[in-house]
Symmetry: C2
Subunit: 282 residues, 2 copies
Amino acid sequence: MEVVQTIAALREHVAKWRRAGDTVALVPTMGALHAGHVALVRAARGQAKRVCATIFVNPTQFAPNEDFASYPRKERADQDLLRAEKTDLLFMPSVEEMYPAGHTTRVRVAAVAQTLEEDFRPSHFDGVATVVAKLLLQALPDVALFGEKDYQQLLVIRRMVRDLDIPVRIEGVPTVREADGLALSSRNAYLTAEERAIAPALHRAITDVASAVARGAAPARETAAAAERLLQAGFQKVDYVAVRDAETLQPVGDGSRPARVLAAAWLGRARLIDNIPVTPLR
Amino acid sequence: MEVVQTIAALREHVAKWRRAGDTVALVPTMGALHAGHVALVRAARGQAKRVCATIFVNPTQFAPNEDFASYPRKERADQDLLRAEKTDLLFMPSVEEMYPAGHTTRVRVAAVAQTLEEDFRPSHFDGVATVVAKLLLQALPDVALFGEKDYQQLLVIRRMVRDLDIPVRIEGVPTVREADGLALSSRNAYLTAEERAIAPALHRAITDVASAVARGAAPARETAAAAERLLQAGFQKVDYVAVRDAETLQPVGDGSRPARVLAAAWLGRARLIDNIPVTPLR
């Protein structure tokens, strides 16, 4: 695995692959890699001849009061893991390489970006859309893979790629979970042992909501009850538990369209998010 | 010259050229073509083997009170002119092809976009940046050419391309003028014979400002005097006459950096814009 820091070097590698007729998959990450990222790399391997991973903790998607400075960074372990997964190339740009002096352009996705996470992290998705657009245009891969754990992010990226005609296929990869249901996340590292024992309550809560809604229960009552249970379990604050249209993220209607349960809640220093589909009963 | 309406057909043509090893130049226009556009196509011919022109009157860069509906459209004459200039391909998408239902993403360039035109046409450059990003990503040309007549637009596009890492070279092409100095513009068609006789006062005014500033005069006094002369000549309203840094469009400092005189003023139904460099005296 080669490791490059500049856009020019990234493009040289991709151009070399293109000349050889190879297809290219991109796996953008913020590092602090775990089995969820491994699933992305393995899915990428199944989609293209060459796999390029990127590690960039993107400052523009963090608000000033958020955890940009303390976000976990473990370059050595990340590189070992990517090497073990036979990643072809790792792109690790500096902040200056991505945002040189004078950089002012932002990509803004409305609609699907203007709810849920946006209510608690305003401008977060502007930062995500902008950095993902840049990475896609730097590498121009055939396909790019993103985890369903960040479900709204996945929808925002799909919308952006379609709206700007970026010539790339976007693939979502199912969430990887611990045995007790906790969705893997780099931010799980923030949890104390005690909090870690409480954390699976988030997945249980959305699973309960999904089951009840699938049986015909009213979403509003179920989500309110789930939020209450999270607080009782030891979460300090529930940003949202919501049942939404799986494609538009608008409130669900008559139940004829696929729905998704999404939640975000605070446990100690960690803001945990998770989501699952509402699977209609047979 | 082939004429295509869909992004898919555009991409097929470009892919065919790429397979043959041909380079590609893109000339985005809003149609109602004149000698200024011919200069763009000829410059394009000098930069690449294949030339693709686009005609799309982009609704998102017009405000509701502006001239989208009445903007001149003359498809037949445009096609004849492009054919005579040996354009290889003309892309003429519908509004639905460019903005299908659900389209919500906008590209926003700050800094250089947030002055002059923006003060009078808020969100105009969001529309320009978004549509140009789309056209560039649809065609992925080696080079795209834009007229210096829309000088701020050229700077906005350069900034966007650099900031989003769109892999294309942007070339500015000097303004083409009538014998009396009037910059060619599709909107000159709005002028009555009487207004057409007055119109060259705009070019004279900015030329006078540029000469005076080059000789060391204070920009503020010269631009105020020029605006006054435009009103006396018969212009109804002067949006701005300004001397700005030629790269940042910020107010000029000590005269050590290249400067540009830019102006916009109303003459009848037409809002005319023009700009020229301040050329230092030897």
